[in-house]
Chain length 130, copies 2
């Protein structure tokens, strides 16, 4: 899907909130923050989140049940995601390493099988917390 596509009203409201956030946002945190904009129900949030993930505009941090905006300009990595997560301050950074994505995209398991889609989460301490 094309990242340049136009967002619907709810999608735009929720994307804007996630995009301007400095940290991953959880669904109910999002809900709380967009209630003044008329989005009242969890399902409205989850539906927008699903679509935004599909489009590659945001990513879900699976280990945290939280969402961050994609910071890779290139579309093709939306199915090949890697993040670093600080175990103290919970800061999450999207990793955009060409060599890493090449390595993982080309990785073959012992049956010779390749996987076009993956999600990688690194854990450790960020600069500040070390």
């Amino acid at each position: 899907m094309d990242k340049q596509q136009i967002l619907s009203k709810n999608q735009q409201i929720i994307f804007d909130l996630i995009d301007k956030s400095s940290e991953p946002l959880k669904a109910y945190t999002i809900l709380f923050n967009v209630q003044k904009k008329g989005i009242k129900a969890p399902l409205q949030v989850y539906r927008a989140l699903d679509k935004l993930v599909e489009m590659g505009k945001i990513h879900k941090i699976e280990s945290r049940n939280a969402f961050i905006a994609c910071h890779n300009s290139s579309c093709q990595v939306s199915k090949a995601t890697a993040f670093s997560i600080c175990e103290i301050c919970e800061k999450v950074t999207e990793i955009s390493s060409v060599s890493l994505s090449k390595y993982l995209t080309n990785f073959k398991d012992k049956d010779g099988m390749k996987y076009s889609k993956y999600n990688l989460e690194f854990f450790g301490l960020c600069k500040k917390c070390r």
Copy 2:
């Protein structure tokens, strides 16, 4: 922590169930299956799961909220996990590739930071579903 350590009663019951399962098990599926053994409450299950994950006896498949037994004999990979997940039949296989774990353990981000812990989930179609 040492994988050879003795498990407590609840830990053993829950580990045995996960270990003999051919697919990842969810917490409430586990609960249902161990009620006849006297484990009645979700918290009893979650506490055992937490400990088993800590010990490296089981792993959590984050994208599925489910748990599988570790099938790597070597302890040192309990903090460096990789799985393949079939998007049709949901079959999950733990990947034990020395080159992959070496690559990821030695991976440095653009700040030169290394991460000793990671979780990688590959998605695609398994042999049967292709």
